[in-house]
Amino acid sequence: MVEALFRIEDLRVDVPDMTRKPLFGAAPRLEILKGLSFDIPRGTVLGIVGGSGSGKTTLGRALVRLIKPSGGAIAFDGKDITHLSDEAMRPLRRRIQMIFQDPMSSLNPRLTVGRIVGAALGLRSGDRRVSEALEQVGLPAAFVRRYPHELSGGQRQRIGIARAIAMRPDFILADEIVSGLDVSSQAQVLNLLQGLVKELGLTLAFISHDLSVIRRLCGRVIVMQAGAIVEDAPTEALFEKPAHPYTRELLDAIPSPDPSIRW
């Protein structure tokens, strides 16, 4: 058994429900995550799948501690990070990186690519390590002087990946990173990510609403519905013999590019 990089136990997140807030007093709490438990072993790729409102994005943001859990525990590399303050979290940040869904909003529009990638390392944009990171994601070093809006969607998403891997992290969370891309860029980004996982020995959590992009990349898949895990299985088993009705529904709903398969 490989040692777990992340260990999540009974993770809960709730938010105040402002639509049902009484005039005086606190709003009732709305449960977003209802007690999730799972491990992410070192060097594996975990898929997290679910529809909108399933809580998959909230789960991701809790893992990288952008939001504070209201219950349960998150252990990273044996250290409990559930309630660490921003200050105490900072030394760990380099090791836990994230790639965002919308590369337009996740890249500062008024900074050059060189500064965006370099800032994470505390480097100047001309530094060799910045161009190395760009090369690793298949972009020319000349891109350091470009601004995000001058790039295509696929190129922007590669910048997001370069920024994450430049920190040499142990763990990367990828939140719906191909959902806004054309199929060709999507294939490029997925292949790139798969190569990097192998090459750098990354541990990756890949959030997606689309099961069809997960099959080749992930070793194991968690299916979420309404804030709970309904199925947690190795990828092949999940695709061949889905156990939960919701997983079956998700699989059946994918329009495969083959008119002979009934839908």
């Binding site: 060709s184 609403h209 080749r216």
Partner: protein
């Protein structure tokens, strides 16, 4: 039966730079058929739908070609005639159900307005028709829903209402512009089934704009694959998925994920294919300029 919509040699360009955005596009949609328009972002697939409905962005101008609706050329018709033809014969199912409905008006009038103002129906008849068509798309208690505001309904319900609204006036042609892109897969399946059902029952022709070859495989009869405003392949769905003819459309199909196949790898469109199709387009542009 002949084509209900026929586009012949349609070319359009940007007003300020003169760059061609549609390159001699020709296609036919027979009565009651579902025609897919597929391509990556920027391929001009939405532009064709917009040209048919007469709502191209200001920056784009049509430089040549014909858009024939029941044999009459929309581009040569007088503006009032064109508005009447488009208003009575066509409808749109838009992409984003969240912004396509006016948030500060009730559902009912948003459906009946068109019937009353453009088709000149009586108010009572329009209201009855709206209730009838809402029931047809499986909306429970249509009379109650017509009194609600959009924010009181879920995304899936709103998309149903937009579909009902498109079919309300019994148009002969509906342009569906990526109608399910913003939805979850499970909801997408329901909505696409609903569109198919309604289309078959009413015998409406459908021009279906999408980036997803999977969706095309499920609901279209034939398709046109676009690259940079040019139709690189036009064929039936059966033939296309059996053996795509053009290298670019074959590459596009290879890049589309197949979850049913464990060993399937995703191949991005190869550089060589893009170079070849770009060269084809450049040659095309050169000969177009010589003739024009």
């Amino acid at each position: 039966m002949s084509a209900f919509l026929e586009i012949r040699n349609l070319s359009a360009r940007l007003r300020d730079t003169g760059e061609r955005v549609l390159r001699s596009v020709s296609l036919e949609v027979p009565v009651g058929a579902v025609q897919g328009l597929v391509g990556e972002s920027g391929a001009g697939k939405s532009m064709i739908g917009r040209a048919v409905l007469g709502v191209l962005p200001k920056a784009v101008e049509i430089v040549e070609g014909e858009i024939l609706l029941e044999g009459r050329d929309l581009l040569k018709a007088k503006p009032s005639e064109r508005r009447r033809l488009i208003g009575t014969r066509t409808a749109l199912i838009p992409q984003d159900p969240l912004t396509a409905l006016n948030p500060s008006r009730r559902i009912g009038p948003q459906i009946t307005d068109r019937l009353v103002d453009i088709l000149g129906w009586e108010k009572a008849r329009a209201t009855a028709r709206a209730a009838e068509i809402l029931a047809e798309v499986d909306i429970p208690q249509p009379e109650r829903v017509m009194r609600l505001y959009p924010h009181e309904l879920s995304g899936g319900m709103r998309q149903r209402i937009l579909i009902a609204s498109a079919f309300a006036a019994e148009p002969k042609l509906i342009v569906a512009d990526e109608p399910t892109t913003a939805l979850d897969v499970t909801v997408q399946k329901q909505i696409l089934h609903l569109i198919s059902q309604m289309q078959a029952r009413h015998g409406t022709a459908l021009l279906f704009v999408t980036h997803d070859l999977g969706v095309v495989a499920k609901i279209c009869d034939s398709l046109s694959v676009l690259y940079a405003g040019k139709v690189v392949e036009e064929t039936t769905v059966q033939k296309f998925f059996a053996a795509p003819q053009h290298p670019y459309s074959a590459a596009l199909l290879a890049a589309t994920p197949r979850h049913t196949d464990a060993g399937a790898s995703l191949e991005p469109v190869p550089r060589a294919v893009l170079d070849a199709v770009s060269a084809e387009i450049a040659a095309d542009d050169a000969s177009w300029r010589r003739h024009g």
